[in-house]
């Protein structure tokens, strides 16, 4: 799956590319408005990560260009501005999601997966992962055809792990994912531990393989 990273900060773009490459995405980087508009014109991408502030133009203009040419590429706006107006405007023009810098790579990865899923499977809502089947619409999870009941947060966590296969996910990334922006106001993220423990317990009881590994001191990893 192809991803275009439009970002003038090369350091950041390359790191994002490196992380996503590990998730079997093919990443291309455009540093400027001109480069980006050329690439958008020629190729088709599954997902575009768009920085709004480019040295030679506005990311919002690129977004308008995409919509004018009726491109189906999913777009996630990545902005240092974190302003509500930009967010609202971007989503109105047709971006699929908005992520404020600085963000966790795992959060980005999970959001990319969710967008690609929506675009590619034409809103089919079934995810298959090892012995697990997740129906996003019905919010049900089956392991080996046996339904298990997960809380909303546990389901959220499960999807987050699947979106970041074989990657170490830090506790703070999980906390932010579960509690939203306010998580980074907390003075500890211990509550993540309880949710992960419950999820692991429910999956193990349903004879699911032990894919969630605890990485000492740093976070968790879904090994598949």
């Amino acid at each position: 799956m192809k991803i275009l990273i439009i970002e003038d900060e090369m350091e950041l773009a390359q790191d994002v590319a490196k992380y996503l490459a590990g998730q079997n995405y093919v990443c291309e980087i455009a540093k400027t408005f001109i480069q980006a508009s050329e690439k958008i014109g020629i190729y088709q991408y599954d997902c575009i990560l768009l920085d709004l502030m480019l040295p030679d133009g506005s990311g919002l203009a690129l977004l308008e260009l995409l919509k004018k040419e009726n491109k189906q590429d999913g777009v996630i706006i990545i902005s240092a501005k974190n302003s509500l107006e930009d967010k609202v405007k971007g989503l109105e023009i047709g971006a699929d999601d908005y992520l404020a810098k600085p963000f966790h790579l795992s959060e980005l990865s999970a959001r990319i997966l969710s967008i690609i899923r929506r675009k590619q499977f034409n809103s089919s809502n079934i995810i298959q992962q090892n012995e697990i089947t997740i129906d996003l619409l019905g919010k049900t999870v089956k392991v080996n055809e046996i339904e298990i009941s997960l809380t909303k947060k546990e389901l959220d966590l499960l999807l987050f792990f699947i979106g970041n296969k074989n990657r170490v996910i830090s506790k703070s990334a999980l906390a932010e994912h579960l509690s939203g922006d306010i998580a980074d106001m907390f003075d500890n993220h211990d509550f993540v531990y309880a949710h992960v423990k419950n999820l692991k317990k429910k999956l193990t009881e349903a004879n699911y393989g032990n894919y969630i590994k605890t990485i000492y001191g740093t976070g968790y990893k879904w090994e598949a």
């Binding site: 170490v168 309880a194 990485i215």
Partner: protein
């Protein structure tokens, strides 16, 4: 220190100086008048004497003296033994036989010779009229002073008030001036030079302040913006490092030790940006919000966090209390208050949330009081907690300022209480 109104003060000075002038001038005036009158009396007496000597004396005989004295009350001729070289003039009281009172007189004595025999000519003039005159003069004097004071009073009250009106206008404008609001003030041109100068200086001063203030604001905002990307890069680098399979547990510990201060920096930066945005009047759109609902929603997001700290929450919320404001700001306000109640709490503590009418009270158990003076200032809340940004309550205050909500803090019986009146 008590202060007096300028007009009262000037009137006081007028009154005081008028009375002082009166006190000093009245005796001087009195004595001058008296002197003048006396000179007048003396001249009259002298005239009497001269007339007497010129018209009467040459024809007067000793035998006439008795009849002369009989018909003249104020001019008399008496036998005299000695000889007076010059005329004498003096005061003397005579008994007025009609009113049986002593009345003051001015008396002139002159020695005369009638048919070679020395006599003493005495002429006198009553000073009663003089006193009456004095009284009338004093009365007119007092009336004049009173009139003067009344006119002064009217001038200070009415005219001065009008003259000082531009000053009052300027004062009213300065009073409503708020640096953080960023509204320029402009003064109308007035036809008094001093007030124009005052207005121009004030205009210059406030404009300068506004520009410095907005520069400072812009600096904080730009600095925070500029920091976002390096922070993002750092965060991502750290994340990539975590993915390294050959990482030792020692290295992993170091990495998570870096993660904490990095998270704090991110938080501080984010909050500074948020403060700048609130100050810049972003989050303008307002809606009618059910306080009860917003509190419950915010609490829901915090449940995990609160539970992990073994803190219990009791709430007592009235239903259907609506206020009109920006939803994001209200959420941030409640969220920051609740997080604050967690951070400054004790092991297995308690948080009470109550909403009655338009008053929200968040109280929690705690050990030491927060510094009331510094509480809502940036980066000043002292706490052993190093992870908080030191901006949470500053943001709460800023939001309250924005909507003119009242916020109070109290610490009593080891309970922190924050009270917001919407």
């Amino acid at each position: 220190m008590g202060s007096v109104k300028l007009l009262d003060k000037t009137f006081g000075v007028y009154l005081f100086s008028s009375i002082a002038v009166l006190v000093v001038a009245a005796p001087i005036f009195y004595f001058t008048m008296k002197q003048l009158y006396m000179e007048d009396a003396d001249e009259t007496l002298d005239l009497y004497k001269k007339e007497f000597k010129y018209y009467d004396l040459p024809v007067l005989k000793q035998s006439d003296i008795e009849s002369y004295n009989r018909f003249n009350r104020d001019m008399r001729i008496e036998p005299f033994n000695g000889y007076v070289v010059s005329d004498t003039i003096y005061y003397k009281n005579y008994l007025d036989t009609l009113s049986n009172e002593n009345e003051p007189y001015r008396v002139l004595q002159s020695s005369i010779v009638i048919e070679n025999k020395p006599y003493l000519f005495t002429a006198r003039i009553s000073l009663v009229e003089n006193e009456d005159l004095m009284k009338s003069i004093a009365f007119v004097f007092v009336v004049l002073i009173a009139l003067l004071l009344i006119i002064l009073l009217v001038i200070t009250r009415l005219y001065s008030k009008r003259i000082w009106q531009p000053f009052q206008n300027t004062l009213a404008k300065i009073k409503t001036f708020d640096l953080s609001q960023g509204n320029k003030i402009s003064f109308e041109k007035v036809n008094i030079k001093e007030f124009n100068e005052l207005n121009l200086s004030l205009q210059k001063l406030t404009d300068q302040n506004l520009s410095v203030y907005s520069q400072q604001k812009a600096f904080i905002e730009n600095a925070s913006h500029e920091l976002q990307t390096p922070l993002a890069v750092l965060k991502i680098k750290l994340n990539l490092l975590l993915q390294n399979k050959n990482i030792t547990s020692e290295q992993a510990a170091l990495l998570s030790a870096i993660d904490l201060p990095l998270a704090r920096m991110t938080r501080i930066n984010k909050n500074l940006l948020l403060l700048a945005k609130i100050e810049n009047k972003q989050f303008a759109e307002a809606e009618n919000l059910n306080l009860n609902e917003v509190i419950n929603e915010t609490l829901e997001l915090l449940t995990d966090y609160i539970a992990s700290k073994k803190i219990t929450v009791d709430k007592n919320l009235s239903e259907n209390i609506y206020i009109s404001c920006n939803k994001t700001l209200l959420e941030i306000l409640i969220n920051n208050l609740l997080i604050n109640a967690n951070v400054h709490n004790i092991e297995q503590g308690n948080i009470q949330i109550s909403l009655t009418g338009k008053t929200l009270v968040v109280s929690n158990t705690g050990k030491t009081a927060l510094d009331k003076e510094k509480l809502f200032k940036r980066f000043t809340v002292s706490s052993s907690q190093t992870v908080n940004s030191g901006l949470g309550l500053a943001i709460v205050k800023e939001i309250c300022n924005r909507y003119q909500w009242k916020i109070e803090y109290n610490f009593e019986n080891e309970i922190h209480t924050f009270k917001v009146t919407f």
